[in-house]
Symmetry: D2
Subunit: 419 residues, 4 copies
């Protein structure tokens, strides 16, 4: 039964959630399963453009050791050198388009609710990795992907074309999507679907055209100056903290934009060493937002200029590192049209347009496919929730996973069925 398999996978993943870029156990299990079913497995640099990986500072050896202890598949773990994430390719050998499906696999930094009311505790599948939790339903997304892989193989003889299942790492913080998009495996995809469980939609609802995805850039800045004794030779220092303070002040003053909502924040700053030492280094973490890519780019462009100028003022050097990025999403209208009757046939309650109001790095994948002439869409698979996303008591109605598999399967049949 599909729903049993879905529950099995979802709860296994829920029990052992893994942080962004640390999904070694998850990736090894996905790779093993896809391979077992007959998919060609792609990993690492073959899948992601490593130069665009963002927000990744991990101890690979320690994470792999942990993953192994927690039941990773040893063979596939060994083949995953550094970068997590998996793609499974199935090629019918027959003519036809290439379809892509994206499932994100990482967990969030949330300490799961320990109360008796919380279903995972009642049934003993709560998180065993303290501080981390699948509180954004990526466990469900992954389960959908794995069961869809089974369904594809079960009807392989009736299908033409090719199918690519993308299991994306590091969606949280919008850190992995850009590298996956740039990896190139999406370039021959004719139609891509991504979905998210929950998000302002109830069980039985399907939002075909979510809107108002916020564009955002997450960035770290490091200023590197020269320490000096503040009493004996203050002139010998190059004050990295002063640069950080002036940059922060100036960033807060980035002008509003005529065309709509923008945001700027410096959320963390630390610098200096001893009280009597001119600070030789300082770091800050910030983010920009905009109602459109152009608005976000406007703000981040000013951030870059301000950082450069502040560094120059103090005679220090600097590094700006993007730690995450999201762009807007505009579903392909033809795809929305195509999906509507499929959803209707499943008796799903389709909603055309609803505000998303958050960030999603699937935007990079969708834009890549569309730029290459393909179609792409991001769907909200409604689900009753026990608590909001990222909340310690988050849980979702597991039955909706079957809707997800069903919809994607029907889409595959619609596009790839051998007549």
């Amino acid at each position: 039964m599909t729903i049993d398999a879905l529950r099995h996978w979802r709860r296994d993943l829920h029990r052992l959630p893994e942080a962004a870029w640390c999904e070694f156990r998850t990736s090894s299990l996905i790779a093993h399963r896809l391979n077992e079913l007959g998919f060609t497995v792609m990993l690492g640099d073959a899948l992601l453009a490593s130069s665009l990986v963002m927000g990744r500072q991990i101890d690979v050896a320690a994470q792999k050791e942990r993953a192994l202890r927690q039941g990773a598949n040893p063979d596939w773990l060994a083949r995953i050198e550094n970068l997590t994430g998996v793609m499974g390719l199935w090629d019918s050998g027959r003519p036809g388009p290439t379809l892509g499906f994206r499932f994100d696999i990482d967990a969030v930094e949330v300490d799961e609710d320990g109360g008796e009311q919380h279903q995972p505790n009642q049934e003993a599948w709560q998180s065993h990795n303290p501080g981390w939790m699948h509180a954004c339903a990526h466990d469900g997304h992954t389960a959908i992907g794995l069961v869809l892989a089974e369904r594809i193989m079960a009807q392989a003889e009736q299908l033409g074309g090719r199918i690519k299942l993308f299991f994306q790492p590091a969606e949280e913080g919008c850190r992995g999507g850009k590298a996956l998009a740039a990896g190139g495996q999406l370039d021959d995809v004719d139609a891509l679907l991504a979905l998210h469980i929950g998000i302002h939609a109830a069980s039985g609802e399907l939002v075909l055209n979510p809107t108002e995805f916020l564009c955002s850039t997450k960035f770290d800045v490091e200023f590197m100056g020269e320490s000096a004794h503040a009493g004996l030779e203050p002139n010998a220092g190059h004050n990295a903290l002063a640069a950080a303070c002036m940059a922060t002040t100036a960033m807060l003053g980035i002008p509003r934009h005529r065309d709509g909502m923008t945001r700027i924040n410096v959320g963390q700053l630390s610098g200096g060493s001893g009280r009597n030492v001119i600070p030789g280094q300082a770091r800050l973490q910030g983010e920009t937002r905009g109602a459109s890519p152009a608005l976000n780019d406007y703000v981040f462009g000013q951030v870059q200029r301000i950082v450069e100028g502040a560094a120059l003022m103090q005679g220090v050097s600097y590094l700006i590192r993007k730690q995450g990025e999201a762009i807007g999403i505009n579903n392909s209208p033809e795809l929305i049209e195509e999906l509507m009757p499929l959803a209707d046939a499943m008796a799903l309650n389709t909603v055309h347009t609803r505000r998303f109001g958050a960030s999603e790095d699937a935007g990079f994948l969708i834009e890549r496919v569309q730029r290459n002439g393909g179609q792409a869409a991001y769907l909200i698979l409604g689900a009753d929730l026990s608590a909001p996303h990222h909340h310690p008591a988050f849980n979702f109605d597991e039955t909706v996973m079957a809707h997800g598999v069903g919809l994607l399967e029907r889409f595959i049949q619609h596009r790839l069925a051998v007549s």
Copy 2:
């Protein structure tokens, strides 16, 4: 033999250095010894004005436990409730002046040199408290004080008046002197001597009038605002980090002073929590300096005004905490005159005036005695060094400790001898 006793004490203390305000083992041993010799022992609130204690954030229970493990005297440890430091009072019962002597007892945050060339390693009395070291000779000062106590008792019948031996905690960072001065035990002292081993003087030298003690104030500032989601409602925050940045920038701009050298530094700053949260709190550590108390006060006065103004600008509250303070020192000329022949008689090479160029919180003690009509002086007891003060390989020629005891003993005889 005096020198054996001095070495014994010095090396015992060297082996188990204790941080400022954590000198529980040291204090318990001093108290026990003074009591044993017949001194009246004073501790804690009876000795220090606790409201003026600076730069003290310690876990008393944990420190006492450690001290006990490391051989503290259990009885006296129990009597030391919170504040370290000890005074021993000897009263001859005969008329005569009251003399005071100050010895500082804390260690510094330095990781002792592990090399074979370093004498403590050769003889196995190197620091057993990692990260802490008697690298400023306070172990030697304390040893001098304890052996002086013996010498006083050995000639008690020939002396009149009274003697107070002050074993001061937390000289490093200039954190304890002000509280000790304000405690009141110096108010009846007619003459006070303090000494320091080393400091630009060689073995056999005695500097009678060191000059250019830097006035300084060490301070921490905390800004307390209101966090808010930087994307959803930026207007709801009160940005503590912005206040800290603006305060820092403005402090660096405190104008120079016509009358001489001033300094200002913000050595550390940290604030904020998540990247997407308006920072609700921020902290900074700074220091001011001046060639005179008036110059230091000028700078610190501006710091206070700037912090208040920056907090107001952002609608946040703030706390300024003094973490240390030092004022200038001007030795009483009569005392210098009195000491010169005593030093000559010991064949010490007396140096009248030499630049000190650092900070010392003995200044508060000296100023207190002088303000009450007494005389006071700070002396440099020359010693050949293996490395500069606060250096991991610091060590000093232990024989000079005997010069110290000798000089102080002669001064006592000169003032208190019953004719």
Copy 3:
């Protein structure tokens, strides 16, 4: 003929435009005419709350002298002590409501076009006060008010209730409305109408419900510190320019607001005297804006806090002076309903809602009437223009003034006709 009278008045005023708060000639002529017709005239402190007068720094004696030279009525000029502006009250002595009408009378700082194409030049009624021009049609508004006064008297026997004609000074820069509203003469008004010629509407159009009036506060800040020789005693100064710079920087960083559009600008700043003198004074001019009064208040509230904080940081004093203020306008729906058939009867092309997109200090009058339970509305009387408002070549189709008189007259008849 109404249109001849309208043209006469309009061109006379156009020829001698007077700046905000300097409308001495204009006011004297209005007062004379209203009195002549039988209205009770109110002036000065009886009309305006002088403590709320904004943006007024004038030489009264010089302005009155000029007004006299330019044909002011000497008797009424003498009665206008300081504040310009006039109200005419007509009381039927019969029961009935009190109606109010507002006409603004000041000119703008624009140098009138000297070209032959410009109609006033062709007919020799162009501005004779260089640098000042009725380029916002207030000459037309005033003419409408004066001719309406005639029309009222012509049918006095058929009307009940009371009528108040408000000739408001200093609308430009939003400087006079607040003082007029607070003066109290609006408190018994049951229905108030204000109108503006032009503004995105063509001759023959009447906009009944203009929207998106911007709330705004215009402010000046002065910082008063202490000068000192920058070389000889930098410490003796209190740097007013530094305060202004820090305030400016911080104002630019006032956070965006969740609820909508806000703006902040420091448009001018000047401070200091000689190159080698610590600046003892500095001045800046700024403005805040918001899509709602609450949003504008949010920004201006932060401005005040920032100025206070910046002054404190530098030990200087400060003054914030409001130089203008505008709030939003929401026409009373019943009044719109009532006016629509009256306009239709005149064959005017009524437009229900159109974006205004600028600021108007009639908002204070309208809000005052509405708060006291009355109804009020601001109308756009369409007019073909030769150039945009405030342009040197501005002129308007004078025939629309007759529409204005006609509409207001019909409204009076509708409300006050004795049955």
Copy 4:
């Protein structure tokens, strides 16, 4: 009589003082006189390196017109194209060294005292150029130079070598010295003398080795951005005023220097246009100082970096213009030795060393001569004063001018007398 000639010249110049770079009348009279006496006259680009001229923004035509009205020599005025300043060369045709003498000729921006007590008023030779006054004795210096020229010619047959008399423009604000030094006419000078009347020395005193000349750089900064409507499109601006404010704040924070006194001041700042316009331009005037050239360079180097960084932060361009510059002065010891007996012979009371404590751009001339292997000295010719330098009531004991001529004449005889 020498003293009558000195008085005549001094009072003529005093009556018609000319600002820096505007000394057209003065220069024409000097040139005429030198030529008349037989000197070869050099002017303009042949004398000054025009690319190093600082702080000069004048209307040449208007100034020449004024000079002509005030009695300039028309022939020589015509030959002075743009740059004021004159050098007279006398060549004996016999072997011998080249001697140089420097006299500064400009007045200061001071409104002369109109009181009866002020000697020039009593005798009707007070300033006729309102706002300008010879309040720094340059009228006296020039008179000394012109009478010295006579004295040289009177004994021409007894002298060998060559003599150059430099009449330097624009000493006030330290604007002309650097260009004169770089002009090259000093490069063959074997010994240069400059003198100043007054300056902490009484009539009859001669200070041979004044010290503590302050090094200083006077600079203007202009920021050029982009204006934009602050309400409609704040994002379109490039805020030059914001750049100026941040630069000012950062300049005030230039760290103190270990090696001695430094100063920084922004004495004037103005920027922006209308209240509702993002400021497109801003200007500031500042100065740096240092106890040594290295210290002044340290501060000015940071100024340049800060301005560049601040401009970059706001995306604006900038110009830094030096408006004046002074370096230190160290008199050649041999020259002091040589002058001492000459002064003694005149019964002058020689003072070896006295603090100057201000800036003098003769430093560039002196440094140029010394760098080329020559000797140079700056002397204080004591004079009783009626009020301090630059004071409206300034006047000096005119008899000391004769001491000046006498000393320089003796020096010439000592060096150039044909034996």
